[in-house]
Symmetry: C2
Subunit: 265 residues, 2 copies
DNA sequence: GGGGGATACTTTACGGCATAAGGAGTTGTT
DNA sequence: AACAACTCCTTATGCCGTAAAGTATCCCCC
């Protein structure tokens, strides 16, 4: 059940992240390496995609490559650094170009949607700590893309920093919720609606005064479409996606007014 | 380095989360329990606060109470469920009442600030998975508070859901960044500015074409106040807090316009 | 007031983890 | 042919969560 958040030693991760094309191995003795950093990172991603971050062990990655765990240490300093590499590789899947013909708002929305679905493809990425960002090329590239996409809005630097951060957190946070709903459904074999129903029933039993204690929550939930039987696996995921779109729209509304009235930071 | 995200079995967690005041132990044989669920949860929080989530082991919690790891299993089903309890207990620190005299915007801002600092007190909470929320009393209470605080804005349910979620993600995400900067500084003994400087230098060496590859990023960063020597440990943390305030303000701007123009969802 | 049985807690053990240390096999250079 | 460099393996250490089984403590009831 343990998953994680640890960061690799950046002094070791960075050279691997920014390493150029592999040199053609001139004049080196010893057996030819059968593996490569790229292959190991790919195997790690495959394991994490398939089995989740909890199942990502050096043994598992090695096994997928027909090697022992220790063989990996020739290429990669340790598990934490491998994770840094996996993280950046996934972010590299994000597009870096966007059609800005329809204006910054449309471009930003499109980017956010793509990032959201990218995270859904690799949900484990959202569990990796953001502390002291590793600053791999893909991560910085993604930042640059966001800045480019927002460029037309004409935000001043301090405001821009806040907006970029908020946008990023919104995407990550919402994707995390959606992804984890998805993962949990797959792991436990219990569809969202069933899970929700079971939990509600239990809650009603344990806290019979629920409606009085949490009146606004009760009102809000009763206004929502109840999970119809057959909504099944995607129920919570869909609701999260909808909340994501709504929240994003509100944030961008705020950007528009903040631009129009540049006084308030 | 592994920390985690796993969720306890809700069917076990919920009764503990919602348990009423302890019954006065009528007619039970056996030795008096020297521990209690509350004491164990408190010890767990103490360990996590002091040493981080990575250091939270059943052995460590037991030791802090002068017991073995196995002694805890009398009170708590396992580590995952203990974490659920710790999580909810921390959220209970959030205030549930707010002065709404100055309007919803001021109240919301105040709440967000308090939540932010609460998370900073217990940074490990931000590493706990949000999948299939555990729905403890404090967590639901916090949701109710947010709804109450936003009540004056007059948002329709679908919009409200999006705003609440966005607000929550913003607080959590930003707090996470700030907290992890803080934790990393404490762990490694390297102040933020030093770390930042070292990383920048390394980056300049590994990617000499940085300024051409990431022009907007370069421009944005060069516009920022460089970490003056002596800014020290709080540099990244302060910058994150500032970005948090800015992002929050923009989001609330968006809420205001969305309310004024209820057409767009 | 002295068993009996429930309860709290300990000891021991198991399998899994990351990874340190050192050995075996392979390959290029001299 | 000898050597050095390199890849990869085996083994071992010390963590982890927790299952199983043993021991000590206390209350109830006879």
């Amino acid at each position: 059940m343990t998953v994680f958040a640890g960061q690799g030693d950046a002094r070791r991760s960075m050279p691997l992240l920014w390493r150029g094309p592999e040199e053609p191995r001139t004049g080196r003795s010893g057996p030819k390496p059968a593996l490569s950093v790229d292959a190991i990172v790919a195997a790690g991603i495959a394991v994490a995609d398939a089995e989740g971050l909890a199942a990502l062990s050096m043994r598992a990655v090695g096994e997928r490559l027909g090697r022992t765990a220790m063989a990996l240490y020739t290429y990669v300093p340790g598990k934490a650094e491998l994770l840094d590499l996996m993280h950046d590789r996934v972010l590299a899947e994000l597009p870096t170009d966007h059609d800005r013909a329809d204006g910054w708002r449309a471009a930003t929305t499109a980017w956010a949607e793509e990032a959201f679905t990218c995270y859904l493809r690799h949900p484990w990425v959202l569990q990796i700590s953001q502390a002291r960002p590793v600053m791999g090329p893909a991560e910085l590239g993604a930042m640059e893309t966001v800045l480019r996409v927002l460029d037309g809005a004409g935000l001043e630097p301090p405001l821009l920093r806040g907006v970029v951060a908020a946008l990023w957190q919104l995407v990550r946070g919402m994707a995390r919720t959606a992804a984890e709903a998805h993962v949990a459904a797959a792991d436990t074999g219990i569809a969202d609606d069933e899970w929700w129903y079971a939990r509600s029933a239990q809650l009603a039993e344990l806290a019979p005064d629920f409606a009085e204690r949490f009146p606004l929550l009760t009102a809000l939930e009763s206004g929502a479409a109840a999970p119809a039987p057959g909504d099944g696996a995607g129920y919570l995921e869909d609701r999260t996606r909808e909340a994501f779109r709504t929240g994003l729209a509100v944030l961008l509304d705020g950007v528009e007014t903040a631009v129009a009235r540049p006084g308030r930071s």
